[in-house]
């Protein structure tokens, strides 16, 4: 297997390969060459960089740019590519939306927050902010005067058009307008207030009778600018936002950011804290999947299942409440370990949970999975191929249901996961049934992890001492962890102060919502609910 550094040197001759703080090689390339290089990286037979983890928009003051984090689904190696432009008035970069499908939405995000136009992207609209927003919030020179963007008392202006920037032969860039839907399409608004969108997400759905022709995913209703807020807060303060992204993976997200900061600051945490963190992660995974099963069945009309699955989730929330003092925004992991020690009866409670879990899973299968109506609703509905899953960066149980082994706990183990015994659940069908069953089986695997740990919680301190004002050295770090819904990535760039220069969150739910359009084409309206439910996205996570 070729070393990724050698590979990069071979594909990009003359490039200087740096190393970011987390061992991911980083190259800087010229924007003009980027599209061709991206194609080469993506199509490389030995080590295809076919998974675009995220695009981090950057404002380095003297230049604007983007950092592409790439990974290979084959060799699991990672690299990052930096491109930049010094033009601050009309910054333009070349789009790679034709190489990685998910780049389309990631580039829209960068455009929305940094104002960088991507030439060749078929859909250059704002993503989160409304179309009349003045300024690009994540730029360092952004003017946040409320008078510029007053709270509107009128309806938000909507447009049926999107922009495409095309580069002509002579190098000039032309802006053209394109309709999002055809002029005579029957467009139904599903959302933002709709029971099946699981939050304030809006699908503008063009239908032909009951058949779906196209979906325009319209997000941003819960955009709170978490990344912008983080830039004005100290590192320990930024942690609190992690509870409020995917609120069901609160522990996992905390864990991810903590690891990134601890790596950057060179903090070693105790074994006890690591075990506690992993146990909490797995407990939240079970709770999250339980809720998924319940709400998904409810989407399909089987209301009763919700009550059966909430029983287990309730038990887990009780365990967490005893230790963390909260049932929702736990705020438990902190830099250096965890906030408080475990509650005295934690072990006993977890054992009680593990005792009832198998019977419950059996019951779920009995009442729902085997039901002929449920099977007809799910089997073959919303099939996502492995290639598309990778191209759309659909990770987590949804990606694994398409046959893509993307579990970060296995591919890039963090904390103590490399010592634990558990299976990565992989299905090949890629349909809603596979996504459902993957989650069902993952609960069993999480229970397996808990079983291994529950009797082996070592003694020791639960939190090591860290300086009151934590300053990270200059540099950048990228950390991936496995949330309940997929890969959660966090990128930190520090300029040596106590506040992050840039903190980028790469959520798993943004790709999940993006792929809805792709896999619902030609399906029925009812299938949209099945597919959306089976992908299990969380809106605050994608909007941030």
């Amino acid at each position: 297997m070729a070393n990724i550094q050698e590979k990069l040197a071979q594909i990009i001759p003359g490039a200087t390969i740096e190393d970011d703080g987390t061992g991911i090689p980083q190259v800087t390339v010229d924007d003009k060459d980027w599209h061709d290089l991206a194609r080469k990286l993506h199509d490389d037979p030995e080590c295809p960089m076919d998974y675009l983890v995220t695009i981090v928009g950057m404002d380095w003051v003297e230049s604007l740019g983007a950092i592409y984090y790439l990974a290979s689904s084959k060799t699991l190696q990672r690299c990052s590519v930096r491109i930049q432009t010094t033009d601050r008035e009309k910054p333009m970069l070349h789009s790679v939306a034709d190489i990685w499908r998910i780049a389309e939405i990631y580039e829209r995000e960068v455009y929305d927050l940094f104002g960088i136009v991507f030439i060749g992207n078929p859909d250059m609209r704002r993503l989160f902010l409304n179309i009349d927003w003045v300024g690009y919030p994540l730029r360092k020179d952004y003017n946040d005067d409320p008078a510029l963007n007053p709270v509107s008392t009128e309806n938000e202006r909507q447009s049926d058009f999107t922009n495409v920037y095309v580069e002509k032969e002579d190098g000039t860039v032309e802006k053209t307008e394109r309709r999002v839907f055809e002029a005579d399409d029957f467009v139904v608004n599903i959302g933002p207030q709709h029971p099946a969108t699981h939050g304030v997400l809006r699908f503008r759905t063009a239908v032909d009778g009951e058949m779906i022709k196209k979906i325009d995913v319209y997000m941003g209703y819960i955009h709170r600018g978490v990344e912008k807020l983080c830039e004005s807060l100290q590192y320990p303060q930024t942690l609190h936002f992690m509870d409020r992204l995917d609120y069901f993976s609160a522990h996992n997200y905390h864990h991810g950011l903590c690891i990134a900061i601890e790596k950057a600051a060179g903090i070693e945490i105790s074994r006890r804290a690591q075990v506690i963190r992993v146990m909490m992660d797995e407990l939240s995974r079970i709770a999250s999947h339980c809720l998924f099963i319940g709400t998904y069945c409810m989407d399909l009309g089987a209301t009763t299942m919700l009550f059966y699955t909430l029983r287990v989730r309730e038990q887990i929330l009780d365990i967490m409440e005893k230790t963390c003092g909260a049932r929702m925004t736990f705020n438990y992991d902190c830099i250096g370990g965890v906030m408080q020690d475990l509650a005295p009866d934690f072990v006993q409670d977890v054992k009680a949970l593990l005792a009832v879990l198998p019977a419950n899973i059996k019951e779920y299968n009995k009442i729902f999975t085997g039901n002929v109506i449920a099977r007809n609703r799910m089997i073959g509905v919303g099939t996502l191929s492995r290639e598309d899953a990778i191209s759309y960066a659909v990770t987590g149980p949804s990606g694994r249901a398409s046959g893509w082994a993307c579990d970060v706990r296995k591919t890039h183990p963090y904390s103590i996961y490399s010592e634990l015994e558990f299976d990565e659940i992989i299905a090949t069908e890629g349909d809603s049934m596979a996504r459902f069953e993957c989650r069902m089986k993952e609960m069993e695997q999480s229970a397996r992890i808990l079983e291994q740990l529950v009797d082996n919680i070592p003694d020791g301190e639960y939190c090591v001492k860290v300086p009151k004002v934590l300053k990270l050295p200059k540099g950048s770090w990228f950390q991936m962890v496995e949330g309940c819904r997929g890969v959660f990535g966090v990128y930190i760039e520090s300029d040596g102060t106590a506040k992050p220069y840039r903190l980028k969150i790469a959520p798993p739910c943004l790709p999940l919502a993006t792929v809805v359009d792709h896999i619902t084409r030609g399906a029925k309206i009812a299938d949209l609910i099945t597919i959306g439910g089976s992908l299990d996205y969380i809106v605050p996570d994608m909007d941030r």
């Binding site: 399909l300 009763t304 449920a374 609703r377």
Partner: protein
Amino acid sequence: MYDFSTITGSIHEFLLSFMAPWLAVLTECLIIGMGLLLVYSVLALIYIYYERKFCAAIQCRLGPNRVGPWGLLQSVADMFKILIKELIHLNHIDKFLFALAPYLVIIASMLCFAVLPWGNGLQIIDFNIGIFFLLACSSIGVLGILLAGWSSNNKFTLIGALRSGAQMVSYELSIGLSVITMVCLAGTMSVGGIVMEQQDCWFIFKGHIPALIAFVIYMIAGTAETNRGPFDLPEAESELTAGYHTEYSGIHFGFFYLAEYLNLFIVAGVASLLFFGGWMPLHIPGWDGFNHIMDYIPSVVWFVGKAMVLSGVIMWFKWTFPRLRIDQLLSLEWKYLLPINLVNLVLMVCIIILGWHF
């Protein structure tokens, strides 16, 4: 068996003693109309409470238990709430049709009440095409739903209404055919006649295999006809928010709500009429003592009890199964239920001709 016609007869005599015959009939019509309305609303309240408790039991919950003893007054409170709620007036709708739709739905289900065999001699009208009249009336309901969806000028309601139209028209076939199957066995379309035919033995036992098939199909089609889960596509809440009645508020919504429960009762009532003898007590040929004891239970209790149990089965469907998709729903009807039904009809006719029934 107590015959209620002695009461109704004496009322008739009493009225005739001081009234002109036409006036007596008019007075009786008014009394019956009032009585029907009363039964209708009380039954709806009982049904709402019944369904809540039933689904609570399935879902490991308690259900309503705060208002009144065992929460008995909960549905009364809810009904009161719905009565005093504002009727929200919408612009850009067809106001006349919008207001008309809920009444069509409720009238359809009230008309069906007229021919149900409530008890021995306790039937409002018993004419020779009773069951046919019932089918005809229940089909009016779909008109109301289509109108509601169309006049609301809303995309969700329109999709809901069209789904409902497709669904009800399709499943009416199955209901009709399974009813015809049983009419063949009974040899009469008169509701009273069908009940009397089951004096010695209920049709479900008398007609054995074809009757059982017809019963299963009737229950499936009946569930679909009432737009209840797993066939609640017209109002699939997770897809269409509330389907055809999304835009309705206050008592107009209440009418749809009421009609849904009453239709449930009617479907179950007709099932008990066709397969379980209507108000006829359980009689087993040859067991005279047993039959005699059964006769002591009032006929009204028999009818309402059977209808309640059968409604329970339909509720059980709803709280257990996920919802079907529209194409699956239609293919179930046209590709499976309809052919089976036709074959079953032939089978029933053969059995009757050959005298293989009990």
